[in-house]
């Protein structure tokens, strides 16, 4: 309860009284009285301080190695000086220890780095309240139930190149054939615009390709497995490939040692796959699962990076990204299903 400063105050007060008793009062009353009053005021002030109300805002999802901002919105009737610290799960890191603030209608923000995949818990939030002289302190603990789901890190892959490569190696036609061109209508995806034909037409009209029916779309099954210590690279690689192919309109199924997501092209598919990969752990697939997959992403202890097997070829993920050609900048992309959504947006 007493801070070190408060202990010093008590000590000085006691020494003052003792010295007064032994060697005469002098002006020690003018030393001891203020100390007593300060201690009393400090004690009462903290005693009257009530648990501040706290709202936590944090993104529900994020990608590994990204930064996320967690804001703590306090509201206290009587503002007090407080030191706010935020406990985080191992997978979340933040520089800076704690924040000193006057806790009233106050927002305190912590920028955290999403260090590990998976469900990462936030909290509890500790507020160490101090009185105006800093003689007493009192800790308020807020249990917080927020979590951040951390997805694998996505490396941008040129989807067209990837698809072409896959088509060649798998000897399948992944790209859906379009049957005819028609005029653009509201709601058509831009990727279906046939720019060449559009350019030839007069006016601003665009032409879009019309494809075969959904059922006939190509499906690609991806399996991912990793030895201990290689899970992150495998998850990153599998997620990057899956996102690129989903962007290209391919139905992707994903199998990990834990679970499986069936191929689909629905809006939530990307989130499902990323969530599966977020929870991926080391382990082996069954041979059957491996043989059914079109693409197998593997990470073995011997190799630092993930290897991608398809159509009898095995390339490292780095090679796969560059397609043997120019290197694309690795950067994080927002999955359109799992974009940062503030609390309440997607719950």
């Amino acid at each position: 309860m007493l801070t070190r400063r408060g202990q010093v105050f008590v000590g000085v007060g006691v020494v003052g009284v003792v010295l007064a008793l032994s060697f005469g009062a002098r002006s020690l009353n003018a030393v001891v009285s203020p100390i007593v009053v300060a201690l009393l005021v400090g004690y009462v002030q903290l005693k009257r301080t009530s648990h501040p109300h706290l709202d936590v805002s944090a993104p529900t999802v994020g990608f590994r190695d990204e930064e996320a901002t967690i804001s703590l919105d306090f509201s206290a009737a009587d503002p007090f000086a407080g030191n706010v610290s935020l406990r985080l799960a191992d997978g979340l890191e933040h520089l800076g220890e704690s924040v000193d603030a006057s806790i009233g209608e106050t927002t305190v923000e912590f920028d955290v780095r999403l260090a590990k995949r998976g469900e990462q818990a936030i909290g509890p939030v500790l507020v160490v309240a101090k009185d105006v002289f800093g003689l007493f302190e009192r800790t308020f603990t807020h249990q917080v139930r927020e979590t951040i789901l951390v997805f694998p890190q996505i490396t941008q892959i040129d989807s067209v190149k990837a698809v072409t490569a896959l088509e060649e190696s798998l000897n399948v036609t992944i790209r859906r054939e379009f049957e005819q061109l028609r005029e653009y209508q509201r709601g058509d995806p831009l990727r279906d615009v046939h720019w060449k034909s559009s350019a030839k037409r007069p006016g601003d009209e665009l032409l879009v390709r019309e494809f075969e029916s959904e059922d006939e779309r190509q499906r690609v099954e991806i399996s991912a497995e990793a030895d201990a210590g290689r899970v992150d690279v495998v998850a990153d690689a599998a997620a990057s490939i899956a996102v690129a192919l989903l962007d290209a309109g391919v139905a992707i199924g994903m199998t990990t040692p834990e679970d499986r997501v069936a191929p689909d092209v629905s809006e939530g598919q990307q989130t499902h796959i990323l969530t599966l990969l977020a929870h991926m752990e080391s382990g082996r697939l069954h041979d059957r699962e491996r043989s059914q997959a079109d693409i197998v992403v593997r990470g073995s202890t011997e190799r630092a990076d993930a290897e991608v097997q398809f159509g009898g070829r095995t390339v490292s993920f780095d090679e796969f990204v560059t397609g043997g050609l120019n290197r694309t900048q690795s950067r994080a992309v927002r999955a359109d299903g799992g974009a940062r959504s503030e609390r309440g947006g997607r719950r």
Binding site: P34, S102, E109, K130, V132, F133
Partner: protein, 739 residues
């Protein structure tokens, strides 16, 4: 990691950052103990030097703190302090003891309540120590190391509290400074709020109220552990207990009880102690004492007095003896110490029936010789015994110049001053203690006083002429009950003057007129006898005073001044002015002597006696506290609103109309309901018409719309709107004033 933080305090339109409030609090703290330094230097000199070094330290700290890290403060502070103390200890003469043990013993004495005014060369000490005590906290607060600033400043303040040099007011101011730094430092770090400021204000007001009314701390007057071990154990010393200082009192009463009986071969004044440092309001003896050893006789011609004292009081802590005591005979010398003033100081109190014998050599006061003594004073004597505090005015020196205009040498000056005081001032034990410098007041303002006033004034006047002089306390010879026997009562206590003459030493002068005193004393003794007070008589003193036969070989001087008695060869017998009672420090006299009751009349009462400026500050602080509390509880804003709605300052017509409407709206909101968001003024007033809002309000609404949207209102219309609103809010019944 970011947060919205309010780092400044806003009050009205003024915003002050908490950091600067902490700096201001530091200034209060530093000023509190600087006032002690200032007080010291104004007594012993060096006031201007002090201001100079302090200003230097402040500037240096302010400039350096911008560039250098915080720890530099301690390095520079330690250098300053070390240098200052070194220069001090190198100027203190006679440091023959091992330096460190002496320094430690000195500091223990100081920390247990010995005033620093009792230190030798305290002016040098103050100049040496002050810069460091200013520099360190000031530097640290600019580095925003608030707690370290508090610690360093608090140590300095605490030191003066422990040495009893910081009074209650100074200490309280310093403590408020400390708490201010802590609170504003906290706010500078965490961000502050109005609520925090309010808590602080309430705390400060409570502190002022509590510490000025209630004493939480037990304990009596200071009783330091002196390096000498003597004098301090008596629980506050005593007037005649050879204490370290004498506070000049107002009216006093003296005990008629017998303190000692003396058997001696000559009468003399029985001297207890001498004081060298005059503070303007009291007398302090600097420097400590030494274990007893045989003393050298005075340099010039002297005669011997052998005296044996028998203690008649219950307990006494003084060993009076004729000046100059050379040796103590018998076992009384165990534990005896010799003060820096040559006085005898027993380690423990002497109790009833104890006796001690002293051999003294009294310098012969031969006028012809003293006239030719010259002014070749030893420098140590001159420095120590000619200092006057700043409170002693130039006017006193001029007056003394006038009085001693015809004197050609220090002896004649001393005689002239002595005679002037005797003839121009009346004797009374009932005086009000003057405010300010005692010597100034006695010489220029007061009509009468008692021995302490006479002696203090004479010493101050002599010193103003550069003549070394000191203030001496003790007893007059007392009632002579036999040829070689005297009875000394509490009311025989006295204060007089010793003046230094080269080749002769310290010579006694007594400026107090003897006649009126003897009468007063006789009366007190007879009164006490009539009231059957015990202990008034001893050794047959009730049978009257023994008078020498006319054939006595000794020339008995009845001349009060000793001035014309050039031919006097025998011992100086002061029968004629025996019995000047009196002398201050009544408080300690009561505490130690038991039977020697000196009562200060009309003294204190309130634990803290504050100067009027302090009372102003005190009142101001209370006012601020009340104001803040009022604001906290919303009273202030309600008062403001109440005034705002009733009286409207005038501006241009449009502003006036808008303001008038605001007042109307506030008034209606108070009376009925607030205007809803989106509700137009017209709708609002119309909606309220059923509860008695009348035509006047509607008219104001119309004028408001015109001012607001058409932008064309005339001065008359503005006047109309304002007066209508005035009517409405003041509840006037006047109706329908169409413009």
């Amino acid at each position: 990691m970011s947060t919205a933080r309010e780092d400044r305090f806003r009050f009205g339109g003024v915003a002050v950052s908490y950091h600067w409030l902490a700096v201001a609090s530091t200034a209060v703290l530093v000023a509190s103990y600087l006032s002690v330094f200032y007080h010291i230097t104004s007594i012993v000199g060096g006031k201007n030097d002090l201001l100079l070094v302090v200003a230097g330290a402040v500037v240096a700290a302010t400039v350096l703190a911008r560039k250098l890290p915080a720890w530099i403060a301690f390095v520079l502070g330690a250098l300053l302090l070390g240098g200052g103390l070194l220069s001090y200890y190198s100027t203190v003469p006679g440091a023959t003891l091992s330096q460190t043990s002496r320094i430690v013993a000195d500091n223990v004495a100081l920390l247990t309540g010995l005033s620093i005014l009792q230190m030798r060369e305290v002016g040098t000490w103050a100049l040496g120590v002050a810069p460091a005590t200013v520099f360190v906290p000031w530097y640290l607060v600019f580095r925003r190391r608030y707690v370290l600033a508090v610690v360093s400043g608090g140590v300095a303040l605490g030191f003066f509290v422990l040495t009893s040099d910081a009074g209650s007011f100074v200490t309280l101011a310093g403590m408020l400074g400390i708490l201010g730094i802590l609170a504003f430092g906290t706010m500078a770090r965490y961000g502050g709020s109005v609520a925090q400021i309010d808590v602080l204000a309430v705390a400060l007001v409570a502190i002022v109220l509590l510490s000025t009314t209630v004493s939480l701390v037990p304990g009596g007057s200071a009783s330091p552990i002196l390096p000498s071990g003597g004098g301090g154990t008596g629980g506050g010393g005593g007037l005649l207990s050879n204490s370290q200082n004498v506070a000049i009192q107002g009216s006093i009463e003296l005990s008629p009880k017998v303190q000692y009986t003396v058997t001696a071969n000559h009468a003399s004044y029985w001297r207890v102690a001498a004081y060298d440092r005059y503070t303007g309001t009291n007398w302090v003896r600097t420097d400590g004492s030494q274990p007893y050893s045989r003393q050298s006789p005075p340099p010039g011609e002297s005669y011997e007095i052998r005296q044996t004292f028998t203690v008649e009081a219950t307990s006494v802590t003084a060993m009076p003896a004729a000046w100059k005591p050379i040796r103590v005979v018998g076992n009384a010398k165990d534990g005896l110490r010799i003060g820096s003033d040559g006085s005898l100081s027993p380690r423990r109190a002497l109790t009833n029936g104890e006796t001690y014998s002293v051999v003294s050599r009294v310098p012969t006061k031969r006028a012809s010789q003293l006239r030719n003594a010259g002014t070749d004073y030893p420098s140590a004597v001159e420095r120590r015994y000619t200092t006057l505090p700043a409170s002693t005015s130039e006017r006193l020196r001029e007056k003394t110049d006038e009085i001693t205009a015809e004197a050609d040498n220090p002896y004649e000056s001393a005689v002239a001053i002595e005679r002037w005081l005797e003839t121009n001032k009346g004797y009374s034990l009932n005086v009000d203690k003057p405010k300010g410098d005692v010597a100034n007041n006695f010489v220029f303002e007061m009509e009468e006083g008692y021995c302490v006033y006479y002696a203090t004034s004479m010493v101050a006047m002599l010193r103003s002429q550069g003549i070394p002089a000191r203030f001496v306390t003790g007893y007059t010879s007392g009632q002579r009950v036999a040829e070689d026997r005297w009875v000394v009562r509490g009311l025989d206590s006295h204060a007089w003057v010793e003046v230094y003459f080269p080749d002769t030493g310290w010579v006694r002068f007594d400026p107090t007129p003897g006649g009126p005193r003897s009468a007063a004393e006789q009366e007190m003794v007879s009164d006490a006898r009539e009231e059957n007070v015990s202990g008034v008589d001893a050794s047959g003193s009730e049978n009257g005073t023994w008078t020498p036969e006319p054939t006595t070989t000794t020339t008995t001087t009845t001349d009060d001044t000793d001035t014309t008695n050039d031919t006097q060869t025998g011992p100086d017998v002061d029968e004629g002015r025996r019995g000047d009672p009196a002398l201050g420090d009544g408080e300690s006299m009561v505490t130690t002597n038991g039977s020697a009751n000196t009562t200060a009349v009309g003294g204190g009462g309130i634990p803290i006696r504050m100067p009027s400026t302090a009372q102003l500050l005190y009142g101001g602080l209370l006012f601020v506290g009340v104001l803040l509390t009022a604001r906290r509880t919303g009273v202030l804003s309600r008062v403001y609103r109440a005034l705002w709605v009733r009286w409207q300052p005038r501006d241009d017509p449009e502003t006036d109309v808008e303001r008038a409407f605001d007042r109307l709206e506030y008034h209606l909101a108070q009376r009925h309901r607030q205007r809803r968001p989106g509700e137009t003024p017209r709708e609002y007033i119309a909606a309220l018409s059923h509860v008695g809002v009348d035509e006047r309000a509607r008219r104001v609404g119309t004028l408001y719309e015109r001012a607001r949207y058409a932008g064309e209102v005339t001065g008359e219309q503005a006047d109309e709107a304002v007066s209508l609103v005035d009517d409405i809010v003041r509840g006037s019944k006047r109706r329908n004033m169409h413009g």
